[in-house]
Amino acid sequence: MGRTTNSTLALFVGAVLGIITALHGLGNFGLKPVPGASRWAQWQVGGNDTFQIYALGHFLSEGQLPPPKSSASYLRSVDDEGNSLRADCIYFVDGTLPPSRWWSMTVADGRGSEPRSELTAGEAITSQSGELRVTISARPMPGNWIMPPNSSNLTLSFVVNEAVPGYDIALPAIKKASC
């Protein structure tokens, strides 16, 4: 009787632990900070990263295809001071044009669900020197403007497609202007 109870308990505890660690792994293990830009993170879907299987599993379990190897997909959910991105604040996203064939910037709620707002290489206004400023604001703003979905926990995605080999991509800074 005691042996049966022990084996049942061991199986149950083991199964629960296995599921909990798997869920945690799929949600976190494949997401790594970008070297030199610690506020930005990237899912390790390419190459031979040890945690690639978790990153792939993360996308598949959400019913999504992972980003192709020809694109680099970066994301962050905090501003430069480490505070969560909120829809009731105004943010300036400042950087330079990535040396690539295409890029896009998307703001979604923390879960990444619709609706989301976006800006792409096809519609962005840049300075002659290649500098880029994007304003994230619930109210219309001059220049490049992204209206965020109404959420207190936003995620900004920056996708660079077909980056020119040999050039580093300088990821933009996010400064809070006001709330």
């Binding site: 022990n6 084996s7 308990l9 061991a10 199986l11 505890v13 083991g14 199964a15 629960v16 632990l17 296995g18 599921i19 660690t21 798997a22 869920l23 792994g25 799929l26 390419g46 299987i53 978790y54 792939l56 599993g57 993360h58 996308f59 598949l60 379990s61 019913g63 999504q64 295809l65 992972p66 980003p67 192709p68 190897k69 020809s70 694109s71 997909s73 064939r101 295409w102 896009s104 998307t106 990444g112 619709e114 989301r116 976006e118 792409t120 290489a121 096809g122 519609e123 995605s157 996708v159 497609n161 077909e162």
Partner: protein, 186 residues
């Protein structure tokens, strides 16, 4: 001693459950959700994804793009994808059922706006040893542009075209819809 044994058993069960969960369940869930979002589309057929399907399947793309899809099943033999594309930036990717990108091509690499890719399943070691299955690819891929192999029998091919100007969408879709995806004649 007995307690340590059962802790070890629990850890072992946890490890097995963890591995099975991470390796197999995401692919299963993906197939279920793919079936739901593309419910009216047949396998081994090319179609232009509706915006909601695109947003669901490819979160790294924006609405300012066009996505063509072919959900393929190689269990009945190879599948040929004939792509007709505009003279602009595009990418072509083939993903296996487990989410691995097994083939990639873009407009510069292709050097043409029309190409044909034959998708087939990698022969197993036993098939190679026994000489079963299809004859050598050298004889089979005659008149075909490229050939991609995947170790898994099912997957999805994706053509992605970003559009700089929304006014160009009807024209680009008009070109892309001449693409096809069907079982190979060979």
């Amino acid at each position: 001693m007995g307690r340590i044994f059962w802790i070890f058993v629990a850890a072992l069960v946890g490890l097995v459950v963890h591995i099975v969960y991470v390796l197999f369940l995401p692919s299963y869930w993906f197939e279920q959700q793919l079936g739901r979002v593309t419910e009216q589309q047949t396998v081994n057929a090319f179609f232009i994804a509706k915006p909601e399907v695109q947003a669901r399947l490819l979160p790294s793309t924006t609405s300012q793009s066009i996505v063509g899809l072919c959900i393929f099943d190689l269990r009945s033999g190879p599948v040929a994808l004939q792509a007709t594309l505009p003279r602009t930036y595009w990418t072509f990717s083939v993903y296996s059922q487990s989410g691995r990108q097994v083939y990639a091509l873009n407009d510069v690499q292709a050097g043409t706006s029309e190409f044909k890719v034959e998708l087939s399943q990698t022969k197993t070691f036993l098939q190679q040893l026994l000489g079963n299955g299809r004859a050598d690819d050298v004889n089979q891929v005659e008149n075909l542009g490229w050939h991609a192999e995947t170790s898994e029998s099912r997957g999805i091919a994706v053509i992605w075209i970003p559009i700089a100007d929304e006014a160009m969408r009807p024209q680009i879709e008009g070109v892309l819809k001449h693409s096809s995806c069907k079982p190979s004649q060979s």
